[in-house]
Symmetry: C2
Subunit: 219 residues, 2 copies
């Protein structure tokens, strides 16, 4: 066993703020990392990287994400509140550096699409820009905003209105093989990773032990 280092609350609080941010951001494990595409009522596009997307429900299909309003992500918040729609775009190995670059503090008048060289793409479904180079993406309708008093962050909840999924990545049971689709993941604030599957596991029941999907049950 690798020895573990214990940090107390007092030690965590005493850390230099960037050091603490890097460490604390690493604790939630690997994260879904996506580009959220929006535009303002005048059609000025914005693209921002988020790693706080989480599943809230499948029927209706709902996802949440967190916005810190005192940052450049304010533009995404404003656009969602004004237009009521946004797109969510997976990253792949071809675009993760451009995706990371969208976190720079560009002025509102600068589109991160233009600044990073990613291309916009529109569906007939919603008036928000998709990322053409993203191979798995979906459109969202704003549903609810919850201001979290505990630290001033904002939870945005939206519902899925349409999806674009690689045709060869959809399994027979609905699972989308996002590894096959080339989706990458992030850890901490800045480390990007691709993945290798260990296994899919069967639905867990109290009276038998889960096994790898496709393997026969023990007799």
């Amino acid at each position: 066993m690798i020895p573990l280092t214990h940090f107390s609350l007092a030690q965590i609080q005493a850390m230099e703020s960037r050091y603490r941010a890097a460490m604390i951001n690493s604790l939630s494990g690997f994260k879904g990392v996506v580009l959220i595409g929006t535009q303002d009522p005048q059609g000025q596009t914005n693209l921002a990287i988020f790693s706080s997307l989480f599943h809230l429900g499948s029927s209706p299909a709902l996802f949440g994400h967190i916005i810190r309003p005192d940052t450049v992500y304010r533009h995404t918040l404003d656009n969602i509140m004004h237009t009521g729609v946004y797109t969510i775009n997976h990253l792949n190995a071809s675009i993760y550096k451009q995706a990371h670059q969208t976190s720079a503090r560009y002025e509102h008048s600068v589109s991160e699409f233009t600044a990073t060289g990613l291309e916009t793409e529109y569906s007939q479904g919603i008036v928000a820009p998709y990322v053409r180079e993203s191979s798995l993406k979906f459109g969202m309708k704003f549903e609810e905003r919850i201001d979290l008093k505990i630290n001033g962050t904002i939870l945005i909840i939206g519902s899925v209105v349409e999806t674009f999924i690689p045709s060869d990545s959809i399994a027979g049971d609905g699972y989308v093989d996002i590894e096959k689709a080339g989706t990458v993941t992030v850890s901490g604030l800045d480390s990007y990773h691709f993945t290798e599957r260990l296994a899919r596991l069967t639905y867990a029941k109290p009276d038998s032990f889960t096994r790898e999907l496709g393997q026969p049950a023990e007799l």
Copy 2:
């Protein structure tokens, strides 16, 4: 480019429910997957797998996760509300099957530790069980509960009170190399993956393009 399949909202709503759940759960990308350890006031332990953990802030260090109260995860909710504390434990390749098995609908009187063979471990910091076999884990204090009216799920927000991190995985800037620590990730409801790093990237600024950490800037 791989052709993309478009699903409209009407098509998504018409999907068989388990098929839709598998697909929608795949859309948020790779997810942090953790075991949350709790116990009731009588000391009966509980262990449950969650893939909705998200970072809310670093100062104070806050994380949120979602609980569906109409499921077996109700036990975790009840224990957190009664004791005010819980542990969060990363999965690695040695324990992901046992971790998945904790999602089975065990009765409250059955500890998932006992049922899956994972071992409890206690720190002096909090009265909630850690997973001994987990190589990265931290203790949490309950801060806030938000009932989400949109679909009846519950957001639990907690603050970090202590951490246990592999000593050889802490980088000089505070980043924790969770890949080196053996942490695994999940996609959809049941697919587990390990990772391989593409790169860490430098902090993005508007006037220069991000590059891989450790590589010199272009002259």
